[in-house]
Amino acid sequence: MNLTTTLPGLSLKNPVMPASGCFGFGKEYSQFYDLSDLGAIIVKAATGQARYGNPTPRVAETTSGMLNAIGLQNPGVDAIIKEELPFLRSYDTPVIANVAGSTVEEYVQVTKALNHSQDIAAIELNISCPNVKEGGVQFGTDPELAKEVTYQVKQASNYPVYVKLSPNVSNIVTMAKAVTDAGADGLSMINTLTGMQINLKQRKPIIANKTGGLSGPAIKPIAIRMVYEVRQALDIPIIGMGGIITAEDALEFLLAGANAVAVGTANFQNPLACPEIIQELPRVLEQYGFQSVEEAIGKGHVNG
């Protein structure tokens, strides 16, 4: 079974990669399996300077999902380039860096810094983090701002740019069009939906930041809908994600129009989630009558 899939700057041996923020910089999960098995790896967000992130508690469990408000904690792009990315060199799998910031300048700064790293193959422009006060949400929900930051980052970057879209919008196609017009090489969707859980005993939100991003199987129907709508409207490569647990889920994203898929929350439940999905994928593709991954992409569309 041919599992390969090709996206701008990425020739993947299979379409499955861990999602940003759910895999650190790979070290921990390398204890569980050979990271070369992965189609690619999207690492944790990088900002211009080191960030502490939000106070704890930062996570909560919801019905078939979880909330997180990590707040982009990371050691800063320079430390990431120097101390984290080199570890992944020894694996035969492309690395995608996740670029975050509070201002267009910071996004551009991080992007430029990453130009100096030889350890990545693409960047994912994170304009959709719901958990930081400045920047994140604005860029992800205002098409004009999204366009602007995408354009500037695209100008600055030597690598293909995948823009990660926020689902917290009324019209995902408008956002997708805005960043595509600005030169995005691909889209990555979806990030988390803003949610809250209240602790009945303590009479306050469980997450110290009050709100957090909802991920996991609970949001899969929303993610599938958004990938489908964007694929229907635009001819741009998509990395689909949101609630993938099984190879069937991954196939559902392919049918919706994703060219590859990312697995986030599932890693926490099952550190072997990615390799297990990759292992199952040939059987599942065959079961539903597909000869290859490429063949399945977009096949869930009626009339086209």
């Binding site: 650190g24 996570v59 904690q73 926490f268 099952n270």
Partner: protein, 253 residues
């Protein structure tokens, strides 16, 4: 090497109010050190639950966990039975450096569900020839467990919040009365207790074990950080750098 294993429940016993002792069969049992935890998957729950190792039987290749029903996850865990299997990540986190430390007398201070890891620690210290004095705090008589087991290892004092057993009050009240001469203290329990104990024993060397809501449990998600005293803009991960920290290392909030 951290691993995911499907392991069998050998026994599952209620040992106090809402409190259960579960013995698990694992080829990795002997790798588990005092203070470490295992990360337990539960059916129909998105996230795993961290539970400390309360004892290890290296020969039988079993280890013990003791937990209290707190919410839905622990309630579900309380309904498992001997013969059932659990999907567990282990060993997780740092441990009390029993081997490396030089000491003659250790004070063990535990509260509630902070008590279980201290039993395995106390046993290991005792095996090393260290004198162990234990002070444990529980909500009330019905919640007391492992008193006899600790007594076999050294002097053991119990406090209950409501005075239904042992001394009425807090572990710090007993420590004040005893004011024991010790080399190190080791404490695990709710944060307010850890704050009180580390303040009270500020002059002593000690180790504490922390809790926080976790995502991955292995160090990738940054859910479980604790700020450092030295530089509060820096943090460590409780799941990977902890749960055991040197008492003055971290800021308890």
């Amino acid at each position: 090497m951290i691993t995911k294993q499907l392991i069998e429940i050998k026994s599952h016993l209620r040992i106090a109010e809402d409190t259960f002792e579960v013995v698990l069969q694992s080829t990795l049992a002997r790798e588990l050190k005092p203070g470490q935890f295992v990360h337990v998957a539960l059916k129909n729950h998105m996230l795993r639950r961290p539970v400390s190792v309360a004892n290890v039987d290296a020969e039988a290749e079993t280890f013990t966990i003791v937990f209290k029903i707190f919410g839905e996850g622990t309630k579900s865990l309380s309904r498992y039975q001997a013969g059932d299997h659990l999907d567990v990540i282990l060993p997780c986190g740092s441990y009390y450096p029993v081997e490396e430390l030089e000491l003659d007398h250790a004070l063990i201070v535990g509260g509630g569900i902070g008590v279980p890891p201290l039993y395995y620690l106390a046993k290991s210290l005792k095996e090393k020839g260290v004198k162990v004095t234990t002070v444990l705090g529980f909500q009330s008589k019905a919640h007391v467990f492992y008193e006899e087991k600790f007594q076999l290892l050294g002097d053991t004092y119990i406090a209950t919040n409501d005075g239904t057993y042992g001394k009425k009050g807090f572990v710090t009240d007993i420590i004040s009365e005893l004011s024991p001469t010790i080399d190190y203290y080791f404490s695990c329990g709710p944060t307010p207790m850890l704050q009180a104990v580390t303040n009270q024993l500020a002059e002593q060397k000690g180790y504490i074990s922390l809790e926080e809501r976790m995502g991955c449990g292995v160090g990738t998600c940054y859910a479980c950080v604790v700020p450092l005293k030295e530089d509060p803009t820096q943090s460590k991960k409780i799941c990977k750098d902890g749960p055991v920290f040197y008492a003055n290392e971290v800021i308890l909030t």
